[in-house]
């Protein structure tokens, strides 16, 4: 059974803290994605990665960075959390850049920044 897991379902942080959101997939997928979801705005792409140590900016990368040191793990980093980063964060993965497959999502992390 395919699985994408995220480190926390709920997270509460203070303004200015450094926040790490972890995502792990067990499907040997090459592509991994981070989105945020806000009411009425759908899912907006923050960053994605085609391979280890490779990253591409999505539509809203400002205030975020990512790390992909191993194929199965893709981390989203909020360098200095702000209240406007309160949101639902969703991680996903798919097969490969030249063999598009179904995209699978993790359960999401609801982050609140106070």
């Amino acid at each position: 059974d395919v699985k994408v897991t995220q480190s926390s379902r709920y997270l509460v942080k203070r303004t200015g803290e450094k926040v790490f959101l972890e995502c792990v997939q067990d499907m040997d997928h090459e592509n991994m994605f981070w989105y945020r979801q806000d009411p009425g705005l759908g899912l907006r792409l923050i960053y994605f990665s085609y391979d280890v140590k490779m990253k591409e900016k999505g539509d809203i990368p400002e205030g975020y960075s990512v790390s992909r040191e191993k194929k199965e793990r893709f981390s989203l980093i909020l360098e200095s959390a702000s209240t406007n980063q309160t949101s639902m964060y969703l991680c996903a993965s798919t097969g490969g850049p030249f063999s598009y497959n179904e995209q699978f999502f993790g359960p999401g992390t609801r982050l609140t920044v106070l």
């Binding site: 792409l45 994605f48 591409e56 996903a92 850049p97 598009y100 179904e102 359960p107 999401g108």
Partner: protein, 105 residues
């Protein structure tokens, strides 16, 4: 990047009714998926359908890639079909804003 528009934004049905959801996209793509987000927030794959037609039970989907749209059909709707339906397109999986479906008993 690719622009994705979904319509209608909201849809309310009586149980047993049929519905059609639409996804338009601004550029040619070789990757398109439909998802259902359940009330707990989990996104569930419905169809991977860059072109052609697929069916799975009461749901079916058609993508006309040359005309840059895809349709999701739900027949004999049930209350468990309620939630938000998204399409996502392109190599970097850009999402539309979704269609919120409410099925009333």
């Amino acid at each position: 990047g690719i622009q994705v528009e979904q319509s209608p934004p909201d849809l309310i049905l009586q149980e047993g009714a049929n519905s059609t959801l639409r996804c338009n996209f601004s550029d040619s793509v070789n990757n398109l998926q439909w998802f259902h987000q359940n009330p707990w927030g989990q996104l569930i794959n419905l169809f991977y359908i860059p072109s052609g037609t697929k069916q799975n039970g009461r749901l079916s989907a058609t993508t006309v890639a040359t005309e840059r749209y895809s349709l999701l059909y739900i027949s004999s709707s049930q209350t468990t079909d309620s939630g938000v339906y998204f399409c996502a397109v392109g190599v970097d999986m850009r999402f539309g804003a979704g269609t919120r479906l409410t099925v009333k008993p």
